[in-house]
């Protein structure tokens, strides 16, 4: 029998050429969290954060919602950004909010790559995808 399970779903919408909006959901047997962050693509800076704590373990947990705002201004491209999110959002707020933001952050480069491949395939359906991705991610 499965005694613990966690699912994360991260989706990316490109609002304009320089802004991507991530929505991240984390659902497990104990916790349920959702965050939405807007990120400037050119420098990876988090522009806005929203969060919702749907299931948690104690009465203090919801006090972590305002702590999410400390993520605004942080760059998802700077060295050690994930550790900073865990320190500032996780330890001072909620570890599970931090986990979803980190997963959104990990998806930044992949989402840009995915969009580039999608756009390139629209122009050239016969494109060598593997070659394109290797070149773009180098």
């Amino acid at each position: 029998m499965i005694t613990f399970s966690r699912s994360q779903v991260i989706r990316a919408e490109f609002l304009d050429d320089n802004t991507v909006c991530f929505n991240g959901i984390q659902e497990d047997h104990i916790y349920s969290m959702e965050v939405q962050i807007e990120v400037r693509i050119s420098d990876g800076e988090i522009l806005t954060v929203k969060g919702d704590m749907k299931r948690y373990t104690n009465f203090v947990c919801p006090q972590a919602i305002p702590v999410l705002q400390t993520a605004v201004g942080l760059s998802l491209l700077e060295e050690g950004w994930d550790k900073k999110v865990m320190r500032e959002i996780g330890r001072k707020g909620c570890e599970h909010f931090a986990e979803v933001i980190i997963e959104c952050g990990r998806c930044l480069k992949k989402a840009i790559l995915s969009k580039s491949l999608h756009d390139a395939l629209a122009k050239d359906p016969a494109l060598d995808q593997e070659k394109f991705l290797l070149k773009m991610s180098a």
Binding site: I2, V9, I10, D28, C61, K110, L113
Partner: protein, 163 residues
């Protein structure tokens, strides 16, 4: 607006009849598909077996993931795990996806053991009793101290505990 990227990630812990914990970690998104399976043996939570499979677009650093993952066999969940795993499968020339998978699998094992205590707390109707229960929990699990807002020094849960 249609999406340009969608990632789904699942980690599951299955308690086997022999007491070992089988963890299945899976990721799929527009570009990648990865699966890591790890068996942990209580009480030390030693990794007995580990397997990895990557598909779709495999980053150059993860080409040898199925061999690299074998490095974590024999490692136990405990302090310093992050550094140990980084040294064995991650780091500059390692596979960061594999490193994430191992750490998230270990975290799922910890949460698997946390779940019964949380469920017991839910069955306690009295708020003061519930508070005492959380205080006992943090006393018996020092790793929780200052781990999040609930266990910071100024939290009502920590009041009077002097931890």
């Amino acid at each position: 607006m249609t999406l340009r990227f969608l990632r789904n990630k699942v980690v599951e812990v299955e308690t086997r009849p022999d007491g070992n914990l089988a963890v299945s970690w899976r990721l799929t998104d527009d570009l990648q598909k990865a699966e890591v399976n790890i068996v942990f043996q209580p009480p030390q939570l030693e990794i007995l077996e580990a397997e990895a499979k990557m598909d779709r677009f495999v980053p150059p650093d993860c080409q040898s993931a199925s061999e690299l993952i074998k490095n974590i066999e024999g490692v136990s969940i405990g302090s310093g795990l992050r550094k140990i795993v980084a040294g064995l499968v991650g780091g500059e020339n390692g596979c960061s996806l594999l490193e994430e998978a191992v750490l998230e699998s270990a975290n799922a094992v910890i949460l698997n053991f946390t779940r019964p205590g949380i469920e017991f707390g839910e069955s306690v109707p009295d708020d003061d009793e519930k508070l005492k229960l959380f205080q006992e929990m943090v006393k018996s699990s020092p790793r929780l101290i200052r781990s999040c807002i609930s266990f910071q020094d100024d939290s009502p849960i920590m009041k009077g505990l002097n931890l």
